[in-house]
């Protein structure tokens, strides 16, 4: 055991002192290297992995967004009280449209919450900016066949043809989980 045979000579103390400052440098270097790697990875990941949150309105009016990776949230357009969705089983393609809803959480709150905002967007979908979405060969969330107003958050790129090519699709159906008092039919 080397620890057991230590001699406390001044020479050794000096050597230890030298080793300590050397060690401090090594630690600093290791720490900086780790921080550097992490910062690099985070920045690179943020650039590659991030998508800009846009509204349907921004996406349909701003031509500079064509071909850029964006994330857009909208209400799924309905027909006859159901989400208007078509699935082509030969090509594994899902077709639907989304209509404009605000992006800002404060605006949504002022509009009476997500459920109300979605319902009014669905009702006025022929007046509001709307884009068609194509979603090829991916898992299809069960909620897409819902008959309640549904929020779709799609990620992908806007094509030159004005169609949004989605690579991910996330759905939210706020009224499904709301604990509010259910609507009651007039009984009087």
């Amino acid at each position: 055991m080397s620890e057991a045979t230590w001699e406390k000579s001044t020479e050794l103390a000096q050597k230890l002192q030298g080793r300590k400052s050397q060690q401090r440098w090594l630690y600093l270097a290791a720490g900086l290297a780790l921080v550097g790697v992490v910062v690099f990875l985070v920045i690179q990941g943020t650039i590659l992995g991030s998508s800009y949150f846009k509204t349907v309105e921004e996406l349909s009016t701003d031509a500079s967004l064509i071909g850029k990776k964006v994330r857009v949230s909208g209400a799924v357009v309905q027909k006859d009280g159901k989400n208007d969705v078509r699935f082509d089983s030969d090509t594994n393609t899902l077709y639907f449209s989304i209509t404009h809803i605000p992006n800002d959480s404060d605006e949504i709150r002022e509009g009476g919450g997500l459920g109300t905002v979605l319902a009014s967007a669905v009702a006025k979908s022929n007046e509001l900016p709307t884009i068609q979405v194509i979603y090829v060969n991916r898992e299809i969330p069960d909620l897409i066949y819902s008959d309640e107003p549904t929020q779709a958050i799609v990620e992908g790129k806007m094509g030159e043809d004005g169609i949004f090519y989605a690579t991910s699709l996330q759905l939210k159906c706020p009224t499904k989980y709301a604990d509010d008092i259910p609507e009651q039919v007039a009984s009087n």
Partner: protein
């Protein structure tokens, strides 16, 4: 009656918790022993109150007291009995009460068991536990009270319906009736919930447009997505983990408050932290298992904000479990350990905030709720309070270590490095999770123009790299001696595991596996070989010196040094899970095809034949579309599976996969679309996915070994000096 009792018991629990915090704080500042004891008794008294509160709610769910809004939202007449009980944590308000109950149970247990041993810490421990409890009860009583009821005018006027905790003037309790109406004008049948003034008073429809087909006094029942065994156990496990970490935090803060930065507080909470960590791990794995079974996307981890929110305290908690060992052995890293447990506590609170307020966009979050402001406030208060106390003591020099790190190549520095990497992981995942909120906030201040959102791709590379560094350390660190190691000796110890890992990599390369994967599996398997070798060396030494057969030697060795060998078992579990994660994420195969009856598709080594599609109605009135498929391998029929989609009257549909599971891989088929007899299937081949689940069993086993209470404390202390020399002799 039940609702009133519930309101009174939980309300009383809240006021007592506030009073306890004040009394404990006063007793801590004045060092008044009598008041400390009063605070303890008050804290203990909260537990039966909350127990009654929980039992009352369970009773209401069991008997179907649907006038309580919460009960109606999570229970129904047809719901299986077991789910009528577990509905206690089926939604926001009830689960918050359950959470408070657990916290109260843990606080009482921690205070009672440490009352004598850690007496000087006790008044402060009560301050921090009852303060946290008071906060959760505040939410429970004033924001999300599970005993809220629905009220209406006695004349049955629907426009007067409101929900409220206390009886509004001139109104009576309203009872929900599930009513099916026939609409004469459209010829359609529609379902409604109609409130009446009595549980035996059927709704009276005077509008001649409708005919009542049926009316039953009933609740909505639990969200069908949550009627899964994984979802029944997952929340309590996660809460046990979350609330469990409050205890080490309280002890750490107490030690900080009285300025005793030695290892005594760490001894007191070592097992607590381990057990809390184990429950958090189980909670995370079960959440993944639930997603795999129910959410129908073939995966178990999607870097979803809510998943991440539970993962973040796990990372800092794991760092803490490692770094406390240095303080126990060498009296170092005193400040770092405190900062890790503070971070864990804050991340637990943040995770709770994120899950419960809908602050982060996620598939898991509860609906938007009014909790954001009080929760954010408490989080800010905790952050400022703990950081202030930390900096104050730090400035006074309380964190100075008993030793300094002697060698760059030492167990201490390996642990340090491990903690840095865990902390780096925490920061990477934290940014990925909160980037959307942070950039949204900056946009609000006019600092940014757009909001960014980071998807799963952001997380993959940085976390993979950092985790591989952790695996590397996992293999090397246990072989490095305390204080100072020599490169020469370490190199010798590393020879065998390195050689084994290289052989593994060469074999994989021969089979044509890509270089990235080979490197990943190589590093992970290196950690596994090194751990196995350590266990073998210890067992072999004992076998030689004591002449015991290998199994006995292993058992005795573990018994003597449970923490160390329990830790090795956990490391092996993490190795197995790592291999499962690499296999199932990098070698996953997926195909989506539309088939007519009799047609087949191929995936991996399997062939799938589609036989027929039919509909059925489940016991809880769910409509099911069921496809019958046969899985074949090498032309032989292996198993018949029935992937299906379930539809519910008042909830979203749900896909249940048909899974054929083997050691090697899962065959996982989803029914995604059907048109007449033609069905579109999405089929996954998930290699090694079961390693993830099996690894988690081993992880629990390892934690239990490490945390098992000492059988005989006297014996243990007598043995300790002898053990230390023995361990040093073995090159520890």
């Amino acid at each position: 009656m039940i609702a009133e009792l519930g309101i009174v018991t939980t309300g009383a629990a809240f006021f007592i918790a506030v009073a306890t915090t004040i009394v404990a704080l006063y007793s801590a500042l004045t060092k008044n022993e009598v008041l400390t004891r009063s605070a303890r008794n008050m804290l203990i008294f909260i537990l039966p109150l909350l127990t009654i509160g929980c039992l009352l709610l369970i009773y209401a769910q069991w008997t179907g007291d649907y006038s309580i809004a919460y009960v109606s939202s999570v229970s129904s007449n047809t719901q299986p009995e077991s789910l009528k009980i577990t509905a206690l944590w089926g939604s926001q308000a009830g689960s918050l009460l359950f959470y408070s109950w657990m916290l109260s149970l843990f606080s009482v247990a921690a205070v009672v068991t440490n009352w004598k041993k850690q007496h000087e810490l006790m008044s402060w421990v009560i301050v921090f536990t009852s303060g946290t409890l008071a906060f959760f009860l505040l939410l429970n009583v004033f924001y999300e009270n599970p005993y809220e009821r629905t009220w209406m005018n006695p004349n049955g006027d629907v426009s007067t319906i409101e929900s409220s905790l206390l009886q509004p003037e001139g109104k009576v309790v309203a009872f929900p009736w599930k009513t099916s109406l026939f609409d004469r004008q459209t010829g359609e049948i529609q379902d409604f919930t109609i409130f009446t003034t009595g549980a035996d008073e059927e709704p009276l429809i005077t509008n001649t447009r409708y005919i009542v087909r049926s009316a039953v006094y009933d609740g909505n029942g639990l969200n069908p997505l949550l009627r899964h065994p994984g979802m029944v156990i997952h929340p309590p496990m996660l809460y046990l983990g979350f609330t469990g970490f409050v205890i080490p935090f309280a002890f750490g803060m107490a030690a900080l408050a009285i300025g005793q930065m030695g290892a005594t507080w760490i001894h007191a909470v070592r097992r607590w932290s381990l057990i809390a960590w184990m429950f958090l791990s189980i909670g995370l794995v079960l959440g993944g298992r639930w997603a795999y079974d129910v959410l129908g996307w073939g995966g178990y981890w999607g870097w979803d904000p809510v998943e991440n929110s539970a993962f973040l305290p796990w990372l800092t908690g794991t760092a803490f479990l490692h770094s406390v060992m240095i303080q126990e052995k060498r009296g170092m890293l005193k400040g770092w350990n405190i900062s890790m447990i503070i971070s864990t506590y804050l991340l637990v609170l943040l995770g709770t905030v994120a899950t419960r307020t809908g602050l982060l966009s996620s598939v898991h979050s509860f609906a938007q709720s009014p909790l954001a402001i009080p929760m954010g406030g408490f989080l800010a208060l905790s952050l400022v309070g703990s950081a202030g106390l930390y900096l104050w003591r730090g400035n006074q020099g309380y964190f100075k270590g008993d030793h300094e790190i002697e060698g760059i190549l030492s167990r201490e520095s390996m642990f340090m490095l491990n903690n840095w990497v865990f902390f780096a992981l925490t920061i990477v995942i934290f940014w990925g999770t909160w980037a959307e909120k942070i950039t949204d906030f900056m946009r609000g201040l006019g600092l940014r123009e757009s909001v960014i959102n980071l998807g799963p791709e952001y997380f993959e590379t940085p976390t993979a790299i950092l985790f591989l560094i952790i695996y590397l350390l996992m293999g090397v660190a246990p072989l490095v001696a305390w204080r100072r190691a020599t490169a020469n000796r370490l190199g010798k110890a590393l020879r065998i595991p390195t050689a084994a890992a290289v052989v593994t990599m060469v074999v994989m390369l021969v089979f044509g596996v890509g270089i990235g994967v080979v490197l990943g599996v190589g590093i992970i398997s290196f950690a596994g070989y090194a751990t196995l070798l350590e266990i073998y060396k210890g067992t072999h030494a004992r076998h030689r010196t004591h002449g015991e057969p290998y199994p006995v030697a292993l058992y005795r060795l573990t018994q003597r040094n449970r923490r160390r060998y329990g830790g090795y078992v956990i490391h092996l579990a993490i190795v197995i899970m790592g291999i499962g994660i690499i296999g199932s994420s990098l070698f996953q195969d997926v195909t989506q095809r539309t088939l007519a009856p009799g047609q087949t598709l191929e995936i991996g080594p399997y062939t799938m034949r589609y036989n027929e599609v039919f509909t059925a109605v489940g016991v809880d009135d769910r409509d099911m579309i069921i496809a019958d498929i046969t899985v074949l391998r090498d032309g032989k029929e292996i198993e018949n599976l029935r992937p299906r989609q379930d539809f519910f009257a008042n909830s979203s549909p749900m896909s249940i996969a048909g899974v054929h599971s083997t050691v090697e891989a899962d065959f996982y088929a989803l029914l995604t679309f059907w048109n007449g007899n033609e069905v579109t299937f999405r089929v996954y081949y998930n290699p090694l996915v079961n390693f993830v689940w099996w690894g988690s069993f081993l992880l629990v086993f390892g934690t239990l070994i490490a945390a098992w209470p000492d059988r005989d404390p006297v014996f243990a202390t007598q043995q300790r000096p002898a053990l230390r020399t023995a361990a040093a002799g073995a090159g520890d």
